[in-house]
Symmetry: C2
Amino acid sequence: MTGNADLIARRERLLGRNMSLFYEEPVHLVRGEGVWLFDADGRRYLDCYNNVPHVGHCHPRVTEAIARQASTLNTHTRYLHEGILDYVERLTATFDKSLDAAILTCTGSEANDVALRMAQAVTGKTGVIATDHTYHGNTAAVSQLSTRMPPVGGFGGHVRHVPAPDSYRPLGGEPGDAFAAAFTAKVEEAIASLEQSPHGFSALIIDPFFANEGFPELPSGFLDGAVAAVRKAGGLVIADEVQPGFGRTGRHMWGHQKAGILADIVTLGKPMGNGHPIGGVVAGSETLNAFRKAFRYFNTFGGNPVSCAAAMAVLDVIESEKLIENAATVGAYAKAGLARLADKHDVIGDIRGSGLFFGAELVTDRSEKTPASDLATKVINGMRERGVLMGKLGIHQCTTKIRPPMPFTRENADVMLSTLDDVLSGL
Amino acid sequence: MTGNADLIARRERLLGRNMSLFYEEPVHLVRGEGVWLFDADGRRYLDCYNNVPHVGHCHPRVTEAIARQASTLNTHTRYLHEGILDYVERLTATFDKSLDAAILTCTGSEANDVALRMAQAVTGKTGVIATDHTYHGNTAAVSQLSTRMPPVGGFGGHVRHVPAPDSYRPLGGEPGDAFAAAFTAKVEEAIASLEQSPHGFSALIIDPFFANEGFPELPSGFLDGAVAAVRKAGGLVIADEVQPGFGRTGRHMWGHQKAGILADIVTLGKPMGNGHPIGGVVAGSETLNAFRKAFRYFNTFGGNPVSCAAAMAVLDVIESEKLIENAATVGAYAKAGLARLADKHDVIGDIRGSGLFFGAELVTDRSEKTPASDLATKVINGMRERGVLMGKLGIHQCTTKIRPPMPFTRENADVMLSTLDDVLSGL
């Protein structure tokens, strides 16, 4: 542990103070393989958190693809190269026919930064609607979508926030039609407000799975009214698939497909290259052309041959290892296990999620549904001490965030569940 | 060539129209090695353009470092890892003592996006000064620094542009004190204008080598007055080292060191990982802490172990292959060669540059210094036809952009020079 104290001191000196670090006792990692991570003392951790190593830490097919392409050629898109064309062709084939072209970037933040400007190019307006507990990335423009902290110089005034849907405490009373109608009404209000402002209305940007908001269980058709309102006002729907994308939620490749809506622009990030920095924006070619006409855009590293090789290998592995099916079956198994734990532990107020993105909302009082955020922190740290890595999130920061690499097995789920049982019993 | 037509059509369909592509007859690359690139027909091109593959295309030490780390561990900075600490320690050791900490990003654009907010955090103001022919990246915030095209919704009003220094046609008459004084006066005017605006003055952002502006030959101390004016007004100096950094200009590791100024914030990009997507912001820890206090910032891929391994290998190769010294000697040799060509070809109006970033400004009339932009395009395409890749840039877009990988040799320079002689003779 002296080693960690030294590392933490060096980190503060070299990277600055207030740089976020997980757990009361941070983990010093040196190796990863599949769903496992190993620290400097050789201790093994079950990774129930990281979605970036989507097909598993250090998957050999991805690392071999990277090594092969990095030693063959790595340039930019101002020369012709087949790698980016083959990848974008295969990627867009997983979307609705109307989403047939893409711009590749290096991060999901860059992708959302471009997506906002695409909507501006199409509509000639700049106003955006987002949910009030969202996060879409770290650029100056995209940070304006967060409610967290006003930037120096203040918010731009072009963003309206609507309440994030919360199926555990639904707006409009019980889950069902009233819940969806209440969300639609909030979106309509925000559109009207933007239309009355100098900014006008360009887009609604949502993670269709509402991951950061605590992945509420939404009734079928929940977003239909909001999407219709956006289209009626001439705006675009941007689906941020950085978290639910690439089959994470089981059965569907994309979160907006699961939600049953059609997006005009889709943004991709984290899992796309299994950790290699690549992101992207998928849209119809008309939308892309409008963007390229209104804004000059070139991204030096975006769509380079190595990034494309990494991303192509990720698609290969998802398919050959049937990882979407695995997410559906193992996710359902793990959720059922959480339900059994709820019979035993009153602190579990709600269980939600889909595929390999699920968790339990912790409460101090089930009838009042009082959020137990400090308790969630305790649970996360207790799990880490016992060798299982997970996080917490949600509107009240009291929902466990279980989002493991996609090759997660039933046996892995059993380890997570028995450890959680143990931690909850010790509270 | 049918192959290229097919690729171009696929490209337009999958990546959108108006995506920039080099040369009248684009090059379809399949392999790179050192300073050489190879197309699909097996034809070899001497790369006199690409600075991203800084230590040479597919350098084995870099690709091996990437392969090794990618198959060992690739996670984010919310866990402890020594790779990022070792790299930042070694990187910051190449700067003035006052620049002792860093934030790692994935691109130079992300780095400049952060740098602008760092200056905002320190000063509480948002106004920025840039030159009128610059380019600092592609995010929405950073694009505001370009004069090229007004974005949808208009420019933010917080940017003031000063005329880029042009040593061939100097403001204030002859190169010398009047030239520098004229630049200083423009910066002082811009500061006053921002101070009178609601934005206030936060920073001057410059590439200290003024690469995109045509790398003018600046007298020693040229920037001293401007920097003093910035400091007097409480603003920060941001040095964008994406192009001159990592020893490119010969003798100095950083462009601001060559210019003899001290920067408050330094941004890094392109050459940092030899093509692997990594960028960064180097600053004093007080500045970093102010940023982290005023803005929440986390970059998922930024500073991941693989990126750091790639970047560390780049520093290793720069040192072990003495590439900075090579840039100085081969650059001087090539510039002398260009001077000999100028005796023969009247179209060469001026020869400028430093280390392995140099070129000739082409004019239709030496006495009038009339920019020959179309001719420059012709030259670039003629060079490409003869197997030498270069570009053009500058205020008048008539300066050849010669910026090869750093292991460029005298023999490579001879090939470039004789080909250029040939092309110029055929005009």
